[in-house]
Symmetry: C2
Subunit: 156 residues, 2 copies
């Protein structure tokens, strides 16, 4: 991967259908997303809410041909804990199926770590489904520790 | 516990020293907080950032004598996943040492679950340190599933 030719940028509304296609193209994602054109309205509403919130950064990694290689969402959360800290959180990480196995994921995480530091976060956190053992190994290789249980209570 | 006499409300700056005292009064908290009067400036700055963000709700539970029984922070995060969803997240949950063992924690979680639904969240999530086995059991009793690894990468 020639990293010089890659660009990280905030997603725009024009990228939205590509991003939804990617989040739906995944063993778990395909059970819970609806990818069709035109996109279901709820994705557009959600995009606007993300895009207008300074604590959300929905990012894409693009090559010079304009192909989207990957996407992720960074969230910055202010807390009183740790003496009034900011935490960075990463979610909805996807690498496009045509660009897997080339280090795209690692590249995105290295960028996310630097960006989190730049915004004054003292840590970057994520939760990952225990059904994704390869993902857990990958995150550990980057420096993450599985110190916590990630607990979810689904209402729907 | 006479629940009729309890009130949930958003924390104000006047509650801040009591809240910091509570987050510091904990096996893990005491290693990472600084509780002294006047409060270190960073807590005030963090409070302002939380208080001015519509996606943050720093809550307290108070009795009719004005004693703070517990505190927690709810965060609402917009995502594209799950067809453009909102997730609720709870952090910094503490019950005052004088009011433990009386159902305060459960009371706070039941309120947080209802509030999360009211704000349109499809789930409530949290991470809890694997060193807190009692907490994990408590969350499971409320309906949370430990389906995910909670992974942290500390920069500091």
């Amino acid at each position: 991967m020639d990293e010089k030719k890659l660009e990280f940028r905030k997603a725009t509304i024009k990228d939205l259908s590509k991003i939804v296609e990617m989040i739906a193209d995944d063993a778990l994602g395909k059970t819970r997303e609806i990818f069709q054109i035109p996109l279901p309205e709820d994705y557009l509403t959600a995009f606007d809410r993300i895009d207008s919130d300074v604590n959300q950064e929905l990012m894409i990694l693009e090559n010079e041909e304009g192909d989207i290689l990957g996407t992720f969402q960074l969230t910055f959360i202010p807390y009183l804990t740790y003496q009034g800290s900011t935490r960075a959180q990463i979610e909805a990480v996807r690498v496009h199926k045509d660009h897997r196995g080339k280090g795209v994921g690692k590249n995105m995480f290295l960028w996310a770590i630097e960006r989190s530091k730049e915004r004054g976060a003292h840590l970057l956190q994520l939760t990952t489904d225990k059904q994704r053992p390869e993902a857990i190994k990958f995150y550990e290789s980057l420096g993450f520790k599985a110190s916590h249980e990630g607990m979810k209570f689904h209402f729907i």
